[in-house]
Symmetry: C2
């Protein structure tokens, strides 16, 4: 399959106008494109390289759709920058990649707007830029958290880390491996009343909550015994700090916390920031708190 | 310089709102963002790797600004996806890169909206996504050429190919090398009356004119003796097919051709497409035409 054939097949995922059939130097920005995000996945850093091409394509769009979900925006259009080693990414690989793109476009309501496909002398480097529609809602920002508000998470954390461990061990048929390879952006939570700040968990629950705290000029106290774990019998610290989770961590005004969806959990509270104190303070499980604090990466909050 | 410091320095190139200080999962799409384009530069394919970091940054934004110029849009905002090998791209390299971004932002009227910065186990992979403002103008598309219209080019061609040859020979102080490393998008031609189709010359004059012909369902006849060359004493075929030029090739309605700017040249005419005939037919210099037709890449038109 030549570069030209590949682009022709990608064309099937466009709506032709405003993408103009991928035939121009640029595309028209659709009217509903109110929010934009972009994420790059690099072979050897963000994925191993032996994953099925369809799973890589799906994940590329899913992690960006998760960023839009964290902003309260529904995905509408995508640009792709694909740098592919020609010898490894042969016709079968490319066909699989397009299948995965198509599945993700259908799952998240996306259409392809354009992009750039190049070779790559080394590994795969995959970027997607997604546009989202706020549909009349206000965007959720990281800077909206205030002292007294509840900290919530959209389900058990740790499935991404457990899935990575499974895949690294060659076990690819577990639910955790599926979560790692095909994460589910929480588009069903768009418009949830009372949310004041939000981030998706790509770096880990504690790290991403710290991003909210830093942007908001506040701190957070997390009750570790309230944090739902993907594997309650497994290593809690690894799950609570593990990345690639794509749950949402968010803050809610006090009066609206009763409206929390059934699969979401309140895990703590926003408190005033204090000089010399960590942005995220841990309570409830002293042994686990000590493990989390000992992990590299925790110290820089 | 850590990743965090690098992002803090990039923040100086933003306007904070709608980029939100690069602190969120996504950015708001500015109201004037009507057109979007994206281009990836890969080390070992699109650049050598030993270029000054400032030149790479400048070129990354310049080639994308050229795509917007080809659509009749003025650059306004940029997203960056930078995959950088940590050991090579040290503090001095990153500072140079930010200098080059700043110079390009100032030259093209750009502000940084966001992006993603990652490591890279292999070489540099640099993508930019640029937004442009049509400022009330209609976009120029590749599909607008019609038989009878003139084919024009925005200045001598070949400087990109000559500059690449200079740089590969270790000669970096020529005007051609400067053109190759810091191309000038023709933003001064925005709004030129009478343009019916346009592309920027990244693949070479003949290849990019063929893109216009294919999109428009027409063919073109180019008078090789009318094509202005960056080095009139040099290899004409190499200059006429050379890439990385970032001139504009465009078509103009007959009645408005008198308004062609002084540094632009009419080089041919759009003709009806004919089965089995090349999309771009060459006249005027039989020996040079034969050299161009013999070059790899010409046959697929």
């Amino acid at each position: 399959m030549s570069e030209f054939d590949f682009i022709c097949d990608l064309r099937l995922l466009t709506d032709l106008d405003p993408a103009l059939g991928l035939a121009d130097d640029a595309a028209l920005v659709p009217a509903q494109a109110e929010v934009v995000c972009t994420d790059t996945l690099v072979e050897g850093l963000h994925f191993i390289g032996d994953e099925p091409a369809a799973d890589l394509a799906f994940k590329l769009l899913a992690v960006n759709a998760s960023d839009l979900a964290a902003m309260n925006a529904r995905p509408t259009h995508a640009l792709l920058n694909l740098s592919l080693p020609g010898t490894r990414c042969d016709a079968a690989w490319r066909a699989g990649f397009i299948d995965g793109l198509g599945e993700a476009c259908a799952a998240f309501g996306l259409q392809l707007l354009g992009g750039d496909t190049t070779g790559s002398p080394a590994g795969l480097v995959l970027s997607a830029t997604l546009f989202g529609d706020l549909e009349g809602r206000a965007p959720w920002r990281r800077a909206g958290a205030e002292a007294g508000q509840r900290v919530c998470v959209s389900g058990p954390v740790g499935a991404g880390a457990l899935g990575l461990a499974d895949v690294q061990a060659g076990v690819t048929d577990t639910a955790f491996a599926a979560h790692y390879r095909r994460p589910t952006p929480r588009l069903d939570l768009l418009g949830l009343p009372g949310v004041t700040a939000c981030a998706d968990i790509s770096d880990g629950l504690i790290a991403d909550l710290a991003h909210i705290c830093r942007a908001s000029g506040v701190a957070a106290e997390v009750d570790l015994s309230a944090v739902p774990l993907a594997n309650p019998a497994g290593d809690a610290a690894a799950q609570i700090t593990g990345g690639d989770d794509y749950r949402l961590v968010f803050t809610m005004a006090e009066g609206t916390a009763a409206a929390l969806p059934a699969d979401c959990s309140a895990i703590g509270r926003i408190i005033p920031a204090a000089q010399g104190q960590p942005l995220v303070r841990l309570s409830g499980e002293p042994a686990i708190a000590a493990q989390i604090e000992a992990r590299a990466g925790y110290t820089h909050f």
